[in-house]
């Protein structure tokens, strides 16, 4: 493990950032517009999001590169600017982070499923290697492979991230099954922890999902199955559409109330996913200070 990461981990719970999409929308991102394209068209507004998180207390900020892989951008006009989008995404977050936070670059899923033949392993590998390399060249401190529902795809993205030599965080999303504690493909947290651990990642994690409360048992399951540091970035509950607006039912304070239980369950990195905002990170920071 990188010395700086080791040192960071030794300092106790680490706050990451929250959602980006809704923050970009608040700054003018139109419905249906590709958020990652803003790294080139509106870098100042993207930087404002990262800066808001750093100001709120995030010691780790991600990058606006979740969909910036060649396959995820297929049919999008920016597909031939994949490398630029990723490099710019890292540069933006680095400017906002300064010396106050580390930049963990985001790699999200392709949106295709290996099982259905919608994409081949080779195509996925080429797409993720290209993205990971661009993120590394951009100067990221680490790479986060996140929101993965399929271990087979996660494995390919993780190998691509590891090839850069940067520390790697590997996150699955658990939102399915009777108790909403499985991935969409049916993988349990124990199975995920074992599989991700075998890939020798630095940190294992869970993000998105159905809210922070549901990730407490997932976190405990991870901790029982693995010695790796654990990263949890939950949604602010389950999204609902009200009058055409996406609404999440958990407030920043309610979210932060779960922090002690999450840490007790074994989480080291804590932040938010869909529906969270800099206010959520501030609330987590306030809770940590108590």
């Amino acid at each position: 493990m990188a010395a700086w990461l080791d040192e960071m981990l030794s300092s106790g719970p680490i706050l990451t950032d929250g959602a980006w999409g809704t923050e970009l929308q608040a700054r003018g991102l139109a419905l249906g517009e590709m958020p990652d394209a803003w790294n080139l068209s509106h870098p100042d507004r993207v930087e404002a999001v990262a800066r808001a998180y750093v100001d709120a207390g995030s010691r780790v900020v991600l990058t606006n590169t979740f969909r910036a892989s060649r396959i995820a951008l297929e049919n999008h006009p920016e597909v031939d600017r994949v490398v630029e989008l990723n490099r710019a995404g890292v540069a933006i977050s680095k400017r906002a982070a300064g010396n106050d936070a580390r930049v963990f670059a985001s790699i999200g899923p392709s949106g295709k499923l290996l099982l259905s033949g919608g994409v081949s392993k080779e195509q996925l590998a080429a797409s993720f290697y290209e993205q990971a390399e661009a993120l590394c060249e951009g100067g990221a401190d680490a790479i986060v492979v996140e929101t993965m529902a399929d271990l087979a795809e996660a494995e390919i993205a993780i190998e691509a991230a590891k090839a850069t030599g940067l520390p790697v965080v590997a996150c699955m999303v658990f939102d399915s099954g009777k108790h909403k504690d499985r991935t969409a493909m049916g993988t349990t947290a124990t199975q995920a922890a074992e599989a991700l651990g075998a890939l020798d990642v630095d940190v294992i994690g869970a993000n998105c999902g159905n809210g922070i409360e549901g990730y407490i048992p997932v976190c405990a399951e991870y901790a029982a199955a693995s010695d790796k540091p654990i990263w949890i970035k939950a949604n602010a509950g389950i999204p609902e559409l009200k009058n055409g607006e996406v609404v999440y039912d958990t407030t920043a304070e309610e979210f932060a109330d779960f922090l002690p239980r999450l840490i007790e369950a074994g989480a080291t990195f804590v932040g938010g996913c869909c529906g969270t905002s800099p206010q959520f990170i501030q609330a987590l920071k306030d809770k940590l200070a108590k």
Binding site: E33, K112, G118, A184, G244
Partner: protein, 214 residues
């Protein structure tokens, strides 16, 4: 396992046994009997209903749903020429697509496979489909239903725009609108004036099947 090819077909589907399923389909095709082919299609539909129930109850997951959808599609591809030669009619055309701004095709594709397996002709417009392209397809293909998929909440607004455009062009009354995808809900469907919300591909197929019987 039963010697009845139709029972075998169903059990192979539920055991995710591709080779067994295709052998069972071949046995039916070899009979060259439209009635036997129709029985086989019905058996597949029964199997898919069970898949759907297992998925809805959290017993099975996306992998099984996708895989059985693919198997059923392949089986239907071999059985449907027999049905057509017997003059059996399609249940009608269904136009499907993922709305503008959203490039996710998985849910749409699963629904397309399931609906095709239930006897519908599918016109798949792909992903990121513009409002006017949905309307054009509705005019050209005169479908019994139009299905819109939307995974990204930020793109949900496109669903209502398509329905408004169908109304504006006088196309809305002639078809039913069904919507689905992680971004959408039953309540949203009511708000935008869709006829139905499908939480998954199996339910969606059940809904359009019921419509076709009306």
């Amino acid at each position: 396992m039963s010697d009845d090819p139709r029972e075998k077909l169903k059990s192979c589907l539920l055991n995710l046994d591709k080779n067994g399923l295709l052998q069972a389909v071949q046995a039916v095709v070899a009979e060259a009997n439209p009635e036997a082919a129709q029985d086989a299609v019905d058996a597949l539909a029964e199997g898919l209903q069970i898949v759907g129930r297992r998925f809805q109850e959290g017993e099975w997951f996306l992998g099984e749903l996708v895989y059985t959808g693919e198997l059923a599609k392949e089986a239907m591809g071999q059985l449907s020429p027999l049905l057509k030669s017997s003059g059996a009619e399609s249940k009608g055309t269904v136009v499907i697509g993922t709305v503008a701004g959203d490039l996710h095709d998985l849910g749409k594709n699963i629904f397309g496979n399931y609906a095709a397996s239930a006897g519908f002709e599918i016109v798949d417009l792909g992903v990121g489909v513009a409002v006017e392209d949905f309307a054009r397809a509705a005019r050209e293909h005169q479908p019994v239903a139009l299905g819109m998929s939307c995974l990204l909440t930020v793109c949900a607004g496109s669903v209502g725009k398509v329905i408004e455009e169908l109304s504006r062009q006088g196309l809305r009354e002639a078809l039913k609108v069904i919507i689905g995808g992680a971004a959408l809900t039953e309540e949203f469907a009511k708000d935008v004036g869709a006829d139905a919300f499908a939480p998954d591909a199996v339910t969606g197929t059940d809904i359009i099947r019921a419509w076709s019987c009306e």
